[in-house]
Symmetry: C2
Subunit: 93 residues, 2 copies
DNA sequence: ATAAAGCGGTTTATAATATAAACCAAATTT
DNA sequence: AAATTTGGTTTATATTATAAACCGCTTTAT
């Protein structure tokens, strides 16, 4: 049985990646809304994805307000696809 | 975003369920081989699946040796299918 | 017959993970 | 200018996964 990448095998991290796979970039507030997570949890999980090299996190400003934008990296994209493949063998899809 | 049933969202428990979905029944030793898990871990995870009502665990004998057989329940089957559906929304399958 | 090794597990301790609660600085509203 | 909101981070706690230690029984070797 294939291993399931533990970085992706987490509900919130998977949800974030799932969004980022379809959307070019998304900011903290948007991800929080879509995933219905708490800010703290999201912050931690974004760090992990970032530390794994699966996403980049860019802090900037919109007017006077901070804005944290996230994008999936090529490495993240690949990892996501491999995760999907591994899962398929469990789910018989 | 749909919730992912935490009982199934665990590599080893998912692997076990995946096997049981295709096989009518499987015993402890077989599951241990197929999943390449340690006996302790498998024992704990079978208990959780059983406590959740997703599998039944039947202890018997083959000759003088004990044999622990597992089968997926109707409830387990349903939960597995719902889990697959929920996951699909994350993976865009 | 007895000690040692193996089989089929369970229980318990530990490490890792996920999650929420508490907190913080800057901006906005009252 | 005090209170509230926004956009987060840090830290503490609960949950989970995992492995290590153990247990009773059986088989094998001495």
């Amino acid at each position: 049985m294939k291993e399931l990448d533990p970085i992706l095998h987490s509900q919130l991290r998977l949800a974030v990646m799932s969004i980022l796979m379809n959307v070019d970039e998304a900011d903290f507030v948007y991800l929080k809304e879509q995933t219905e997570s708490t800010a703290g949890n999201l912050s931690v999980q974004l760090d992990k994805l970032s530390a794994a090299g699966y996403i980049t996190v860019t802090k900037g400003f919109v007017g006077k307000k901070t804005r944290t934008a996230c994008q999936v990296t090529e490495q993240g994209r690949k990892a996501f696809e491999e995760y999907v493949n591994a899962l398929k063998s469990y789910l018989n899809l």
